[in-house]
């Protein structure tokens, strides 16, 4: 159990969180998964958790802080220096991808998350590859 990679997912849409939880636990058998439902007071939330993560998945359309803001904020924190930060979004337009690249993301995975390829994608990300799924 302790060798399992740690995941963090910040997403304000309940159904999307539910989908993510089911995929991670039921399909992929990852259990070290933290899911937060809001970007509000995110630093306090993370401070309370006080954990480092292997992969941080971020929704982009969130309030008050967007995924881009969150990514920048996380990059400034030593605790998440080695974390891979991946965006999860239903809308992967070139403009959005360019914006993500300038905000420090390591990749993007389009929604809906594919049950068939997600496991492979996680492995790729963990091995250090950038994933820009378009």
């Amino acid at each position: 159990m302790s060798e399992q990679p740690a995941f963090l997912y910040i997403e304000d849409h309940p159904a999307s969180r539910q989908v993510f939880r089911i995929i991670m636990s039921s399909l992929l058998d990852y259990h070290n998964v933290t899911v937060l439902d809001s970007s509000e007071d995110i630093l306090e939330q993370l401070h309370t958790l006080n954990m480092s993560y292997d992969i941080i998945f971020l929704d982009l359309n969130m309030r008050p802080l967007s995924g881009y803001d969150l990514c920048k904020l996380l990059r400034e924190n030593d605790l998440y220096q080695n974390a891979r930060i991946i965006g999860l979004t239903a809308n992967t337009t070139p403009a959005i991808i360019r914006k993500m690249q300038t905000h420090g993301f390591d990749g993007v995975i389009g929604k809906p998350i594919s049950h068939d390829t997600f496991a492979e994608q996680i492995n790729q990300i963990l091995s250090g590859e950038d994933i820009w799924e378009t």
């Binding site: 849409h13 159904a15 999307s16 539910q18 989908v19 089911i22 995929i23 039921s26 399909l27 359309n61 979004t89 239903a90 809308n91 992967t92 337009t93 070139p94 403009a95 959005i96 991808i97 360019r98 929604k111 809906p112 998350i113 049950h115 820009w132 378009t134």
Partner: protein, 488 residues
């Protein structure tokens, strides 16, 4: 200028209605030049005076002694008055310059030659002076000067030839006549010069005034035009800003829409898939079948939403490409495996003939894949039996892709609709496809990659769709994106 003419016409009409002495010296209406008008009036005055004087003299002489009619001097005087009357008429008719020339010539000739014919060469000098003065009235100082010199020479020669010098002048009363005449002429001359100067001055003033008017008009026009241009520029800038704003709003709306529509649909698809896959516990075959149908309907809905959003973006000029390295061979292989999956339940063979040495190009991987999937799913949809062949080969220009099917084909009358967007969606042909947007979208992406797309089809026999894509470098592909963005 028009105002000027108006005033002039008024004065002439008032002199016509009020017959006073002025009428006799009024110039012809065609004479508009201020100096010429003055000259014409002066000419009329002199001619009239001479005519009157000559008539009085001739009358008086004839009254005293009617036999004098044979005197050549009197005959010349009568001839002169007739000529003067003709000159007067010519002057009043508007031939001012000609009249001036003839009059001065006659006066000069008479004053020079008439005394010479007579014994009294002594009167030559005063007469010569008279003609110089008359020339001076009508012509420039320079001409007058030249005339004076000629006169002096002629007089000198004449006096010498006759052998009777000025000192021999003895008839004293002639001097008085001459002085009287000379003073009268001198006064007229000076007054005339002043009048001409004033006329010139007035004309200059008028010209100056007109010029000022013109200049201020011009200034006004320039100001007007400048402000018009300024307004137009502001309007254009405003319109552009509004258009940009509208585009931005549209773009934002599209982004929101695609997010809002897809997020719940994605959740539905995922949850349904969990259940269908048995993640939530065992499902029976019937349940699994229905769940899979839900999934495929959901996927269809998602692709329709994507198509509508794509075409809206294209038509709004907001389409954007994400350029990266594209292995077309790999894209074709993965598309063909999807195609094989699609014909699994049909009596259709999916054949692939893809060259191994397809070059690497740059472009939008997702969009190029979308084109291939569109073509394949279309072919599968319209082919109930036979075969679908996907061919891809390297050409001189790039990559050529052919997708041949043995489906229903496209009737000739509908062929022009294939690449048109929803305007034609209610047509029979497109009805079966769904939105009918797949082909126009595909063509757009092929063309935005500098490629070409076309098809050949025979109703009842099948269709072949062709796509030719050039090999683009990273820079070339980036240039395309810039151009697309520039258009929007």
């Amino acid at each position: 200028m028009e105002k000027n003419l108006q005033t002039h016409a008024n004065t002439s009409s008032s002199t016509m209605t009020l017959p006073n002495l002025k009428w006799f010296v009024t110039e012809h209406s065609s004479v508009t030049d201020a100096v010429l008008r003055k000259q014409s009036r002066l000419l009329s005055s002199i001619l009239l005076a001479m005519i009157v004087a000559l008539i009085i003299i001739v009358t008086l002489v004839l009254l005293a002694d009617p036999s004098d009619i044979n005197d050549p001097k009197l005959q010349i005087a009568i001839g002169l008055s007739v000529i003067n009357v003709l000159l007067y008429i010519a002057n009043r008719a508007g031939y001012v310059r000609a009249t001036m020339l003839i009059f001065t010539s006659i006066i000069t000739s008479v004053t020079i030659f008439f005394p010479l014919l007579e014994s009294g060469a002594a009167t030559l000098l005063p007469f010569a002076l008279t003609s110089v003065l008359i020339i001076g009235m009508f012509y420039s100082t320079r001409i007058t000067l030249v005339a004076s010199i000629i006169m002096i020479i002629v007089t000198y020669i004449g006096v010498e030839a006759k052998g009777s010098g000025f000192d021999k002048y003895h008839e004293m009363q002639d001097i008085w006549y001459f002085l009287l005449l000379a003073s009268a002429l001198l006064i007229t001359f000076v007054r005339h010069i002043r009048a001409v100067e004033q006329a010139r001055h007035e004309e200059l003033e008028e010209i100056n005034h007109q010029l000022n008017l013109l200049a201020s008009n011009l200034e006004l026009r320039v100001e007007e035009r400048t402000s018009e241009l300024h307004d137009a520029k502001q309007d254009a800038e405003k319109a552009q800003a509004e258009a940009e704003k509208a585009n931005e709003v549209k773009s934002q709306f599209l982004a929101n829409m695609s997010h809002e529509l897809r997020t719940p649909l994605n959740a539905i698809l995922n949850f349904t898939a969990f259940v269908a896959d048995g993640v939530m516990g065992p499902v029976n075959e019937q349940q699994e079948d229905l769940l899979n149908q839900s999934i495929s309907s959901g996927k269809h809905l998602l692709s329709l939403i994507n198509d509508v959003l794509d075409i809206t973006k294209i038509e709004a000029g907001l389409m954007d490409l994400f350029i990266q390295e594209v292995d077309m061979g790999e894209a074709l292989q993965s598309a063909s495996s999807i195609g094989k999956g699609l014909v699994k339940d049909k009596n259709v063979k999916f054949i692939t003939e893809i060259d191994d040495d397809l070059p690497i190009t740059f472009g939008d991987k997702r969009r190029l894949r979308q084109v291939l999937l569109n073509l394949i799913s279309n072919a599968v949809k319209f082919t109930s039996e036979g075969q679908i062949t996907l061919k891809a080969s390297k050409t001189k220009q790039g990559i050529r892709i052919e997708l041949e099917d043995t489906g229903i084909g496209i009737p000739e009358k509908d062929q022009h609709l294939v690449f048109k967007s929803f305007k034609q969606a209610k047509h029979d042909f497109t009805e079966t496809i769904g939105t009918g947007l797949g082909m126009p979208i595909s063509k757009y992406f092929v063309e935005s990659h500098q490629g070409t797309m076309w098809f050949e089809s025979v109703a009842g026999e099948g269709s072949t769709f062709y796509v030719e894509l050039p090999i683009l470098s990273n820079e070339e592909a980036d240039q395309i994106t810039l151009e697309i963005q520039h258009q929007s």
